[in-house]
């Protein structure tokens, strides 16, 4: 390479460098270039805005689906309790076991204010997944009060305890009369209409018609031509809740003497008073009562029965709660001394927003019969979301 060529090359590089430095060091962008750049940025912003709108629509759609659920994991200790109800005669002096009492997940899809889809399976039963609820709820838009029609498998609404979710109840199980005898399973297939705030705020009327088989029955369809009707009128003042309920069902039953028509009919009343103690917090005192004929199962058992419970619940600050319940169930009013008196004591500790620990003791006594020692002690961990 000649000296001249080297000098030329160095000179060229310097010129290029100077041009680059000049271009870099000052705002040499022309108006046209700036417009183009702005247009490019605007396009990018428009694109982002479109993406954001799409995302907002997607998030809006997702928000229409609400998923909730809870698990109740237990340790139970029974006194002289059957090992398994399906194994006749198998008993133990004392049985203790870990169990998953309830493992449920509820899907509620509300696309608009006039309709709702609900499906609610329980995954904890020994029969595998069972369907607790599945219904379509329509809310009329015309009156402004939101009258509801609920069609499908759903809760019965006799009294307060039946409809109240197990996830918020202060005791591990419902009272014997409402939960186990007269309304076993607490749900059925049918339709109901609800009139919230009827005439005055707080006054609610419900009326329904159901198959009458309950959800523990194996039938998919009704096994007879009769239907089960139910009604409830309740009034809430906030600090005092009052309600009256009634049900009537004619049923076809297989008895030892042949086929028969039986009836399940009850009337009931409930009242709960809410109060607040300084320092401790809120509490409630109340009870429910019913009287009538028949139980949910077997349909052939046609006896006059009666039952009630009284409960007291007291919160202690935000984290603790004490509860006591005394319930009586007389399965046959024409037989003396067969009433079962059950005392249940429970303590709840709210670990965090989702977890509740429950320690409970249930003590049933049958007056006049061979007394069976069948107390139950329960330690339960519940996670709810």
């Amino acid at each position: 390479m000649t000296k001249q060529k080297v000098v030329t090359k160095i000179g060229g590089l310097l010129v290029l460098g100077l041009v680059s430095v000049r271009a870099f060091g000052q705002d040499t962008m022309t108006m046209e270039e700036m417009r183009a750049k702005l247009e490019e940025m605007k396009s990018q912003m428009d694109g982002m805005s479109e993406t954001q709108q799409t995302m907002l629509t997607d998030v809006g759609n997702l928000k229409k689906l609400k998923v909730s659920g809870y698990i109740q994991a237990r340790y139970e200790e029974h006194q002289d309790h059957p090992v398994d109800a399906t194994t006749p005669g198998a008993t133990a002096d004392k049985q203790d076991s870990f169990a998953i009492r309830r493992g449920r997940i509820k899907f509620t899809y509300t696309a608009n204010p006039t309709s709702q889809y609900v499906i609610y399976p329980d995954l904890s039963t020994k029969d595998g997944v069972t369907l607790k609820e599945a219904y379509v709820k329509l809310t009329e838009p015309w009156t402004g009060t939101g009258i509801n029609l609920v069609f499908g498998q759903q809760n019965w609404f006799f009294g307060r305890e039946i409809e109240r979710s197990s996830s918020i109840r202060e005791f591990p199980e419902r009272s014997r009369v409402f939960g186990k005898a007269v309304f076993d399973g607490e749900r059925d297939k049918g339709a109901r209409i609800e009139f919230p705030d009827l005439i005055t705020p707080g006054l609610n009327l419900k009326a329904g018609i159901f198959n009458g088989n309950g959800i523990k029955s194996p039938q998919t369809f009704d096994n007879d031509k009769y239907k089960h009707t139910m009604g409830r009128l309740a009034y809430s003042l906030g600090w005092l809740d009052l309600g009256v309920s009634g049900e009537y069902a004619r049923r076809f039953a297989l008895t030892s003497s042949g086929n028969a028509n039986t009836a399940k009919k009850h009337i009931g009343a409930d009242a709960f008073f809410y109060y607040e103690l300084p320092v401790a917090g809120g509490g409630s005192l109340g009870g429910e009562w019913l009287k009538g004929e028949g139980v949910q199962s077997p349909a052939a058992l046609q006896a006059r029965n009666q039952g009630y419970f009284i409960s007291e619940v007291q919160n202690l600050g935000d984290l603790f709660q004490l509860a006591a319940r005394y319930d009586v169930y007389d399965p046959d009013l024409d037989v003396d001394g067969d009433a079962i008196h059950t005392t249940t004591l429970a303590g709840n500790y709210f670990w965090d927003d989702n977890v509740r620990l429950t320690l409970a003791w249930e003590h049933p006594v049958t007056v006049g019969f061979n007394e069976v020692k069948d107390d139950t002690k329960t330690l339960q961990f519940q996670y709810k979301f």
Partner: protein, 273 residues
């Protein structure tokens, strides 16, 4: 050595006693600036109290009150019946409601918008999607762009109940996560309309509102809100699970007292008395 051990034990016992009391407030985005100003002023006077303020919307605050994760819920609408029942299921109380301030729920327009006033009927038509052009309400021949709040907002619920008579918003309304976002959007969009607390009104104009075509329209001023002439005024609430006691009571008494209410006026809302 004994003295050392004794001192350590005493210090351990005394530590929680001397620790600051923490009060949590959660809820309404409309009230967030107000809550922050109250908290700052109160903590300045009471160094032993720490007040934590978060937003999220009235619905979020009420949920937090129900599940026990906030001491005070700030709400720009009253609690609904089903929310009270949920609170009762967990705490056996329906909560204590304390009006803390008043707000003239304002209709925001872009500063260049020539519209002079709007009636309830026109607002309902606009937000229901029946009126879609500004010329139908006295403006230019241009499309109306709707800005709204998300459905966990108390402002959303209150506007829907009072102005839309409980009917649904137009699906074309863009939901924004806070009042500040609505103000910002309307300030930048000359065809935009929004609504929210009067205290946020910066860079936009507040549209005078009338309840019907036959009456006069009023701006959300102190006099008009106090006299009831401005038709969309509302209370801003504090909710507690039980009757307030201890430090929470002291704080709420201060909020509803002269010092707290002076801050209400400074922020741009209206005192309760």
């Amino acid at each position: 050595m004994k003295t050392k051990i004794l001192s350590t034990i005493l210090a351990t016992i005394a530590l929680p006693l001397s620790a600051a009391t923490t009060i949590t407030i959660k809820g309404s985005d409309t009230m967030i600036i107000l809550n922050q100003r109250w908290a700052e002023a109160y903590m300045g006077k009471n160094p032993n109290v720490v007040i934590q303020v978060t937003g999220g919307g009235s619905g979020t605050g009420i949920s937090a009150l129900i599940n026990g994760s906030t001491d005070i819920c700030a709400a720009s609408r009253p609690m609904k019946q089903d929310e009270k029942l949920k609170l009762r299921d967990r705490f056996n109380t329906t909560g204590t409601e304390i009006p803390a301030a008043r707000d003239g729920l304002s209709v925001y327009l872009n500063e260049s918008n020539p519209v002079k006033e709007l009636s309830f009927q026109q607002l309902e038509g606009i937000y229901r999607g029946k009126i879609t052009n500004w010329k139908d309400v006295g403006g230019e021949d241009a499309k109306i762009i709707l800005y709204s709040r998300e459905n966990n907002s108390g402002t959303y619920a209150y506007f829907k109940e009072v102005v839309l008579s409980g009917k649904d918003y137009s699906p074309l309304a863009q939901s924004l996560p806070g009042t500040a976002g609505v103000v910002n959007a309307v300030a930048k969009d000359k065809l935009g309309i929004g609504y929210g607390g009067a205290a946020y009104a910066k860079g936009i104009k507040l549209c005078p509102v009338k309840k019907s075509a036959k009456v006069a329209a009023y701006e959300p001023s102190l006099e008009n809100v106090k006299s009831g002439k401005y038709p969309i005024s509302r209370y801003l609430y504090y909710y507690t699970r039980v009757k307030p006691s201890g430090e929470i009571k002291k704080f709420i008494d201060w909020v509803t007292g002269p010092e707290g209410q002076a801050i209400v006026s400074n922020v741009g809302y209206f005192p309760i008395k």
